[in-house]
Amino acid sequence: MTRTGSPRIAGYAFLAAVGLVGALALRRPELAVLAAPFAGVLALGLSLARDPRVDADLRLDAERTIEGHAVEATVSLRSPHSVDRLEILLDLPEEVEVEGGRSPRAVRLTGDEEHEVELVLRCSRWGVFDVGRLTVRARDPLRLAAWTASFPCGAVLKAYPSEIALRRIVAPVETQVHAGSEVARVRGDGIEYADIRDFVPGDRVRSINWRASARRQVLVVNERHPERNTDVVLFVDSFLDVKLGGRSVLEEAVRAAASLSTRYLERRDRVGLVGLGGVLRWVQPGMGVGQLYRLVETMLETGVEPTYTWGDVTRIPARILPPKALVLALTPLLDRRFVGALQDLRARRFDVAVVEIDPVPLVPAGPSELDRLAHRLWLLDREVQRSDLQRVGIAVASWRDGSLDGPLEEVRTFRRYARTAHV
C-alpha cells in the first residue's frame, strides 16, 4: 500500500517548532505548553502508524441484469491489523450508479476478520460495463498517515435493454416452411379453415366435409392454412445517434430491437440481426433462447463508430438475409446511407418495414431565424425521405416513446392497403 502523510503532519510540526522556538525566545514556558500537545500527537501518531496491508475484492451477485434493475455487489475486506477508518471507493462507469449503500464510505476493520460491505448497483442504460477498480484508503486513529491501494475488480456487468410494451407484432407477407405460429397464405395441413374443394384420390378421409358433400352430392374436402414460422431480420441503424436529456435514439432503437426479437422468438420465428453503421454487425437468423442471448449480446456492442465508407447492402453476407424474410428496420432516418440500403433491399424484393425512432423532439430549433429555417428544411427533408420509402412500398411509422404498438399498427395498416411495388 502506498503511504501518504496527512496535512496534519506538516501543520503540527510547524506549530510545535514555532511554539518551542517562541518559548525559548520570549522565555515564556506557556508557549511550550501550547506547543507540547502538537509535538506529542506527532510522536504518538507516527509511532503507532503501521501499514495495515488491506486486501480487498469485489463480487457481483449477477453478471447479467436488465437496465434499471438492481445488482448486489459485495466488497470483501481483510487486514491482519485493526484499521480505525478504512475508506472504500468503487470507481464505476458513468452509466452504473450506487443505489443502495454509499460509495465512497468508511468502515472499521477488526484485525484478521473479514468484513463485507454490501452495495446495490444499478445500470442506467444497457451496455457492457467494466465495474472498474476498488480503491481503499486506511487511516491511523490520529489520522496522520494514510495508506492507499487500488484493486482491479475484473468484474463485467452486462445490462440488457429493458422490454418495451408490445402486444402485437408485424407479420411478414410470406412464411417459411417450418412449423410456427403464423397462419400461412398457402393451403395445406393446418387448423385455420381456408376453403373447400372437390375430393381427389389421395385426400385423407378425415378432411372430407360431410355436410357440404351431402348438400352437393359429391365428395368435398376442407382446405386449411398451415401454421408456419417466419424469418425476421432486425435492421438497426447505428450510423448516427442523437442524445438529449438522457434520451438517445440509438439506445431506444436497441431497446425496441430487443423487445421485438423477444416477441418474434416466442412465436418460434427465426430472428436475425444486422447493425448497419460504422461497423457492420450481424447475427444469422435462428430460433430459441440461445438465439435471443446471441442477439442481445450483439446489440450490447452497438455504438456509433465514425466511418466514411458507403455502407450499402452489398457489405451484408447473403446468408443473413434469407428469401421471404421480413426486414424490420429501426432507424432515426438521419443518414442517407441507411435509407439507400433500405431502398436497395426493397429493390431486391425483400419485405421491408421501417419503425422510425423520431429524433425531432431531441433536436430543437435554434434561436435565430436562420436556425428555425434550417430546422424547417431538415423536417421537410425527413418528409421527403419517408415519402421516398413509402413510394416503393416500405411502411414507415414514427415512434417517440412508450409502447411500440402504435407504430406497429401503422405499419400493419399501411401493408394492408398499400400495393406492393417492385422497382
Binding site: 506538516a10 514555532v18 506557556e30 508557549l31 505548553v33 480505525d84 465512497p104 468508511a106 472499521r108
Partner: protein
Amino acid sequence: MQTASIRLAIAALAVLVLGLVFGWPPLVALAIALAGAGYAAELAIDDAPLDRLAPVLAAAVIAAAELAYWSLEEREQVADDEGGRARHLAVVALLALGALLVGGVLLGLVDLVQTGSLATDVLGAAAAAAALLAIVAAGRRRA
C-alpha cells in the same frame, strides 16, 4: 487585553475561515500560529507571571486544530460507518484532555523549577529512581 493581541486573534479567525472555505490545510496551521502569536504578545507585553490557564488554552488549541482538519476531511464526502464520527470525536476529546494534563504537568514542573525548593531535589531523585527501575524491569523481561 492588548490591541495587538485582538488584531492577531481576528486575523487568526479570518485565516481559519479562509482555510475552511477554500479547503487549504496550511491556512489552518497558520491560523493556529497567529492565535498563538496573539497569546505570546499578550504575555510578552504584560510581562505577566506564569499563566495558570495555559493548559486550558493548549487543550482548546489542539481541539480547534483537530476539528478544523476534520472539517477539511469531510469535504471528501465519505459516508461514515455507524459510530465513526462519535469515535473520532472521542479521540479529539482525549487529545484535548491529554493536552490539559501534559500542560498542567509541564506548568507544575516549571513552577517547581522556578521556586527551586527541596521539592525539586525530591522530584529529581524520584525521577532518577523511576528511570533506573524501568531499565531494570526491561532487562529482566528480556532475560
